[in-house]
């Protein structure tokens, strides 16, 4: 995959980005462009059924890449977290995660780029039904909208 200025800038800003490898060998990243807009997980992967063909997902972070092999169709997780200061207007990304649902019970293994802590957490095991905190001091997420991510249990 050819890294662009956009990918470089994302890392330089302390953020991460995901990329997926499909069974046909194509690689897509969240910083790809689709016409005039950015590639969108739902519109460009879930809606056209490509989440069935993901063979690998990688979270590219300022602390290196975390790669996960995907064996089952429709088992890839992707989620972003953010926080908005309602009195001040500041909005910032707090984390980005990718993961793999391991079984029909919803157990999952995730890689998390913690933007506030600037730290990569790998092999974090939790559940899509009760997503826990990957470190002390961050709130647990609880039940995820996994179907919106294209996941089928």
């Amino acid at each position: 995959m050819l890294l662009t200025v956009a990918h470089y800038n994302q890392i330089q800003q302390g953020l991460s980005f995901w990329k997926v490898k499909l069974s046909n060998g194509k690689v897509r990243t969240e910083l790809d462009r689709v016409g005039q807009r950015a590639l969108d997980w739902h519109d460009d992967l879930v809606a056209n059924g490509d989440t069935a063909h993901i063979k690998e997902i990688t979270l590219c972070t300022p602390q290196g890449d975390a790669c996960m092999k995907i064996a089952r169709p429709h088992s890839t997780l992707k989620l972003n977290g953010g926080i908005t200061d309602l009195f001040g207007g500041q909005r910032q990304v707090t984390f980005q995660l990718v993961g793999r649902v391991e079984d029909s019970e919803g157990r999952c293994t995730c890689c998390v780029w913690d933007v506030l802590g600037q730290r990569l957490y790998v092999d974090f095991v939790t559940s899509v039904h009760s997503f826990g905190a990957w470190r002390p001091g961050v709130p647990a997420l609880g039940a995820l909208n996994y179907s919106g991510m294209g996941v089928r249990l």
């Binding site: 997980w41 309602l86 009195f87 707090t94 709130p139």
Partner: protein, 246 residues
């Protein structure tokens, strides 16, 4: 889905709860801000920020901040209707989101000492007053709970896509010691009890993941106290909306 383009606070500046006028305060824009005051204070809707009256600490116990203003320019403000810190209202504050994003789980309302979003030290006062004076609370007056209290209604927008907003008062008043332990999760068409907002320790979570790509407005009430035991100064705690998107 991409991130939401609009996630903002809005305040009722209309005639009453039943006849609200929702004023979007485009925060992040110069001179747009929420200001706190006492109803007995000398402030007005055209008082410039530099002249805004201070709130004096009580000599004992706590003082409820009973008036909020939404300003859209330095000398252009409006009283927030129902912003008296009681439960005798239902349309006071809303979090408003657009139809461009999809939540990854139920969003949350938190409060922090500042926009680095650190953990609280309940009951501990700083040497120099800052947002932690409010968030930490005092071991005496607030039993180490945050001095910011919140009650939220239902889901704003249900997972199925229905609006879920109140039409009657919350019904009970908070006290300086009101609070929960951990997360308070909302239920459809129901007010939560008053809880304190203390960093990531005590907060409110929407009990539903609101419907995808559907705009919503989530109602809540706020109360804030000043306690005799806090360290005074410029106290600017942060009210925050934590959310995820797919």
């Amino acid at each position: 889905m991409a991130d939401f383009t609009t996630v903002r606070l809005r305040a009722n500046t209309g005639a009453s709860d039943a006849s609200p006028t929702w004023t979007n305060v485009p925060f992040g824009t110069a001179n747009n801000e929420v200001r706190a005051a006492l109803s007995s204070g000398s402030q007005a809707t055209n008082t410039p920020s530099a002249s805004w009256p201070s709130i004096l600490k009580p000599s004992s116990g706590t003082t409820l901040i009973d008036k909020f203003y939404a300003f859209t320019a330095d000398t252009t403000g409006a009283v927030v209707t129902g912003g008296d810190g009681t439960g005798s209202h239902y349309n006071v504050w809303q979090i408003d989101w657009d139809n461009l994003g999809t939540f990854g789980d139920g969003p949350e309302i938190h409060a922090y000492k500042d926009n680095t979003y650190p953990a609280a030290s309940p009951g501990t006062q700083p040497g120099t007053g800052d947002g932690s004076s409010i968030i930490n609370g005092t071991s005496g007056e607030s039993s180490s709970r945050s001095l910011i209290k919140c009650a939220a209604y239902g889901n704003g927008r249900t997972a199925g896509g229905s609006a879920d907003n109140p039409s009657s008062n919350m019904g009970s008043n908070p006290s300086a010691t009101s609070g929960g332990s951990g997360v308070t999760t909302t239920s459809n068409a129901t007010w939560t009890a008053w809880t304190d907002l203390q960093s990531d320790t005590n907060y409110i979570k929407n009990g539903a993941t609101p419907a995808a790509t559907t705009a919503g407005q989530w109602n809540f009430l706020l109360a804030e106290y000043i306690a005799a035991g806090i360290t005074g100064g410029t106290l600017l705690p942060v009210l925050a909306f934590r959310y995820t998107w797919i």
